[in-house]
């Protein structure tokens, strides 16, 4: 075990996988940077510091600095993957999915199915997502609901450094295209990370708090909000199951259903706007599969159906918060 930040867990996992498998290559903007008059060719090392030192160890053949060309970056990752490489491509911000959606959606996600199972596409597309930094409408979006809606992609959302390692290892070794989503607010959080080979299989949700009154489902930065609310309520004797989804595709349906069958109450916390969100998806799942257990209508804690505003106060009003989760839990409990 070693205590490290999420960004370092990601960096060291990529490094370990590159050491283990020569087919693993990384590509993206400013992953290396430099070649001005200082700092050598590694002056940047990724704007999230998740590729620092890789160029020095693996060289220009495997650590590829790209132009600002997202369509071609993701397209190249797709082509590399079809030909047996294991590319790990980075989109600096998840919002830039807008530039390369075709390569993700119409290409990568469909190869295996439309070619009758003749190929795999073992690519990982990493991207930094999420709000909370006054980065406004085009640099703050959560995006994972959109990714989850696309058949043929796997979508991973680590919320701790240990999970980042276990899930990213699985993602890189996985034979399917994986969208690996890193919340900007979590890069700096620290936690214990297991040494050696550590794999977390997909569709294995994690129970982070146990209680019998309400089930709270969350992921990414929303998980911390759910836990904070659960801890506060626990002091009053209200028990919450908090479920970290870890992956939204594939989804650990059983973990959610099993919990709701005990609690009869559901709160889903999601950083996406409510329409066609993960919150709506899980609410529908529970309505279909655990209807008889429900004691109250499910609650969704999401931003409103708007773009993300710049001003601090507006952005805080936009985002879910521990208080909003707490209020939602109380609402399910007050239902008569």
């Amino acid at each position: 075990m070693a205590e490290m930040m999420m960004r370092d867990a990601i960096l060291t996992t990529i490094r370990d996988e590159m050491r283990r498998d020569p087919n693993v290559v990384v590509l993206g903007e400013d992953l290396v940077g430099g070649m001005g008059t200082a700092g050598g060719p590694e002056a940047i090392g990724g704007i999230w510091s998740t590729s620092t030192g890789l160029f020095g160890e693996f060289g220009a053949d495997r650590v590829i600095d790209t132009p600002i060309s997202e369509s071609a970056i993701v397209g190249a990752a797709g082509g590399l993957a079809l030909a047996g490489k294991r590319p790990v491509a980075e989109l600096m911000f998840a919002d830039f999915v807008g530039v390369c959606l075709d390569q993700l959606w119409n290409q990568m996600a469909k190869f295996r199915y439309m070619f009758g199972g003749k190929t795999t596409c073992p690519a990982v597309i990493r991207m930094a997502y999420g709000a909370g930094y006054n980065a406004a409408a085009q640099h703050s979006q959560a995006v994972y609901a959109l990714m989850t809606a696309l058949p043929g992609l796997k979508v991973v959302l680590p919320s701790t450094p240990a999970d980042a390692k276990g899930l990213l290892t699985q993602a890189i070794r996985d034979d399917d295209p994986v969208i690996f989503m890193e919340h900007k607010a979590l890069y700096g959080i620290t936690g214990e990370v297991p040494d050696g080979d550590y794999i977390i299989p997909f569709a294995h949700a994690r129970l982070t708090r146990a209680g019998e009154d309400v089930t709270i489902v969350a992921s990414g930065m929303m998980l911390g909000f759910a836990e904070a609310a659960a801890d506060k309520l626990a002091a009053e004797g209200i028990g919450c199951d908090v479920i970290d989804l870890r992956t939204t595709s594939p989804l650990d349906e059983e973990a959610i259903i099993d919990s709701v069958e005990v609690t009869g109450r559901l709160v889903v916390v999601d950083e996406n706007p409510p329409r066609c969100s993960i919150a709506a998806d899980i609410t529908a799942l529970v309505a279909r599969r655990a209807y008889a257990s429900l004691k109250a209508p499910p609650e969704m804690v999401t931003p409103p159906h708007t773009p993300i505003p710049f001003a601090r106060e507006l952005e805080s009003a936009y985002l879910p918060s521990p208080d909003k989760v707490e209020a939602a839990v109380r609402k399910t409990l007050a239902w008569k």
Partner: protein, 348 residues
Amino acid sequence: MARTKTAKSGAEIATDMHPDLAFQTFTASKDQLLEFYKQMLLIRRFEERAGQLYGLGLIGGFCHLYIGQEAVAVGLQSAITPGKDSVVTGYRDHGHMLLCGIDPKVVMAELTGRAAGISQGKGGSMHMFSVEHGFFGGHGIVGAQVSLGAGLGFAHKYKGDGGIAIAYFGDGAANQGQVYESLNMAELWKLPVIFVIENNQYAMGTAIARASSEVHLYRRGESFRVPGIQVDGMDVLAVRGASEVAIDYVRSGKGPVIMEMMTYRYRGHSMSDPAKYRSKEEVQDMREHNDPIERAKKALEAMGVGEDVLKTIDKDIRTRVSEAADFAEQSPEPDPNELYTDVLVGSY
């Protein structure tokens, strides 16, 4: 390739350019040069103040300063017709806005996220807009503004209003696919668009040669038959001279032009960039030998403009910028209900 050193900056500027676009340095009258000087200084002081407010935590999010590049927008926008032509750019947009005649107060108040900001505090530094001033944004997705610029040019053509569109983008943005789709369409349909590449040598922390197979960006339109010219973007008079020729070409219906402006940003990519990819000497060298404002100042002095006149100009500009900063600090924050407004014209 024919290249020559410019007399003043020592920057190499290509000479093998389109014959219809041969240009000369603009010969400015004293009053004209004073005006360019004032405009450049306003941008510089505005940006310095924005940098300070960012440091104080009054501005959040991303904030990209235009310091060093002032001559590009001043030389070009001084030659367009306000109210008739359209301007669109990326996130490094404060300077272009001031030159469109937008009040520094409402720009600064947007940076601080206040209700009086030009986007009601909902857009921030990267996302500002004013149809009245012919300024069409303020865009955060690298390259997106280039296609929008082609569309703005198309609108001028439809309307037959004689206007042209100016689409600014960076050396890094010049590698986005949609830029080339737009160049092709603009030439195919002879759209009145000037594609202005502000080549400041870096895209974030990556030097141009690490990301571009052809670093002479004025040549990027060749396979679409879009002519290009390369201009010393640290010299406001060179920019103005080149702009007049490009504007005439585009306005006369011959189709689009690329202007590659050789320039340099003094500050980091954004306020959060420590700029470890270049030496202090590199920046210092530019500032000392190539600063567009200093160059204009020297030329003014040579024209007999006295120290006192220049001092008064600086003082007036500092006052204007301080007023903008005070306004931006004192304006109220947006009403919480603004979160839900202006998503659509209609409602859900």
